[in-house]
Subunit: 335 residues, 2 copies
């Protein structure tokens, strides 16, 4: 039996739970949510109107506010919580998982305090061997998957058998997982993506066109690849679905929080004003600081991430931002 | 003295001529156009209202319908003509160029009849040594550059001194060239891009969302990279501004002809109907056939280009297209 469960009932957690439920219609898939209102709505009306308006959820999805009960029998436990809160939130599950359980990160971020990637936070907090940890990432805008639009994704784990088991559990006609052993590359691609999406949002908000945006996306992925390879990741991962694919989907989407918040900064709002207008922060706001710490540790230049951190956190004027992108003319492209 | 000239007064030819003119305000930059009306408008009103509506052109741009006169003294001669017509159109210039002249391709395509890239067509037709040929390509939507939006571009030549001279001739505050020695990679990236843009247009026209589009873009660039490396190009070129950058800018732009024509196919029009509605064909319609010939010659799988050729030229039903993208589930990403 391969019972599966998801911790987190936001847009992506609920969508991934629905994918798991559709992939195994005979099984009950459990989902934990903090809010009793959201949980009752999932159980009674098969909806999560706050995070996935208009989407009908499968009948074999069961929501609960009892995290230990949701996790107890899960052979595969996926976690989708805000990256800065996850360590504390799941600490009570330590020692409470089924032996041999696989833990899956659906999150994209770096824990600010420790500099750890989400897979490391999960493995260490839950005391699960790293070979039983996987990461799911790709061009995966939740609303489109919930609407059963076809997409691809990447399931990464250092242990191929772990990646294959997770891929099998979530494969449906419209959700197509590829496996990859480069977990660091897949996670880093996701975390830095949020920073690049902020840069794209800022540029768009400030009125720049598609050429500038495409340059930022391209050079943003290039600096992500530089950092990743310095950290031992495989450069091809960044050219793949969890690197370029995720970045391109996010930057095309008006629904991305990083994109939206960046757009407001680009229009001239302060970070506080933009956060208020967006109804909360975005992952990239915190991640950009952690990304730059990694860049310093591994001695890698990341001009776009630096420009984002400069504008958001260090009072660098908006008008200096294009400079970060275009400041190295007439050089060889690969320098 | 570094007199420059552009052959071709469409949107991109006129824009690049304007960039050259702004980069060297003391020089006269010549531009050849077939149409006396377009040439007089450029000379008398500093406009090209047919191809660049709303744009004011620099005063040191001089248009002529006499191709030999335009090319005669040029130290740098850039060519922007339809890729299937260029060989015949420039044949009269053979032997008529200034000794040592550099010839620059602004075109993206493969000559159907011969399978040659544009740089090869230029070198052979004009009898110019290949080390004096360069290619300019990047995230370069003409309208945005004409509006002086900041962008980056790539100037490629097998001879670094050639690339540097062209880069110097076109560098302005808003147009920032990087040099690259991988001319095959830069050209192939541009040619296959048009095919991927058709695929993206078709998918969008058929109602697919940003996840699917991002998957097509990512896997389209991956198949371009496979073909390019088999042909001796450098894989990093495809991750750069002339590969990913150009592809992302084109696929974001509603003004791209390949995108637009693809969209109409995706909505159910035949190729003939879509071509009529678009007011002419798009480069990718011909290129996809030549790209697949290269793929066969170099024994490379290109499922997205095949799907495009299938739908456009071989009566494959539209509904089978997503299959090409998603047909290899639960495999390792790099297989």
């Amino acid at each position: 039996m391969s019972t599966t469960a998801v911790i987190g009932s936001g847009g992506w957690g609920t969508t991934f739970a629905a994918v798991l439920a559709e992939a195994s219609p005979e099984e009950e898939v459990r989902i934990w949510g903090r809010s009793p209102v959201v949980c009752s709505e999932i159980n009674e009306q098969r909806r999560n109107s706050r995070y996935l308006p208009g989407v009908k959820l499968p009948a074999n999805l069961r929501a609960t506010t009892d995290m230990a009960a949701a996790a107890r029998d899960a052979a595969i436990l996926a976690v989708a919580l805000p990256s800065q809160a996850v360590g504390q939130a799941i600490a009570p599950l330590r020692g409470a998982l089924r032996p041999g359980a696989i833990v899956v990160s659906l999150m994209k971020g770096i824990e600010a305090e420790s500099g750890r990637l989400m897979s490391e936070v999960l493995a260490q907090t839950l005391d699960v061997p790293y070979r039983h940890v996987a990461v799911v990432s790709g061009p995966n805008l939740a609303g489109e998957i919930a609407a059963r639009q076809p997409t691809t994704t990447v399931v990464a784990s250092v242990e191929p058998a772990t990646a294959s088991r997770v891929a099998e559990a979530c494969a449906t006609t419209y959700f197509r997982p590829y496996t990859n052993a480069d977990i660091v590359g897949v996670e880093l691609g996701g975390a830095v993506k949020n920073v690049i999406a902020l840069a794209v949002g800022i540029a768009r908000g400030a009125g720049y066109g598609d050429n500038t945006i495409a340059s930022i996306i391209t050079r943003g992925l290039a600096e992500t690849t530089r950092l990743g390879t310095a950290m031992g990741a495989h450069p091809e991962t960044f050219a793949g679905l969890a690197g370029m694919g995720d970045l391109v989907a996010t930057c095309a989407s008006p629904l991305s929080r990083n994109n939206t918040l960046g757009g407001r900064i680009g229009q001239g709002m302060s970070l506080a004003e933009a956060t208020a207008a967006t109804g909360g922060t975005a992952e990239g706001v915190t991640s950009c600081v952690s990304v730059l710490e990694l860049a310093r540790r591994y001695d890698v230049e990341m001009p776009i991430s630096e420009a984002v951190a400069g504008v958001l956190h260090h009072g660098v004027p908006l008008r200096d931002m294009p400079h970060a992108l275009l400041s190295r003319p007439r050089r060889a492209e690969r320098d």
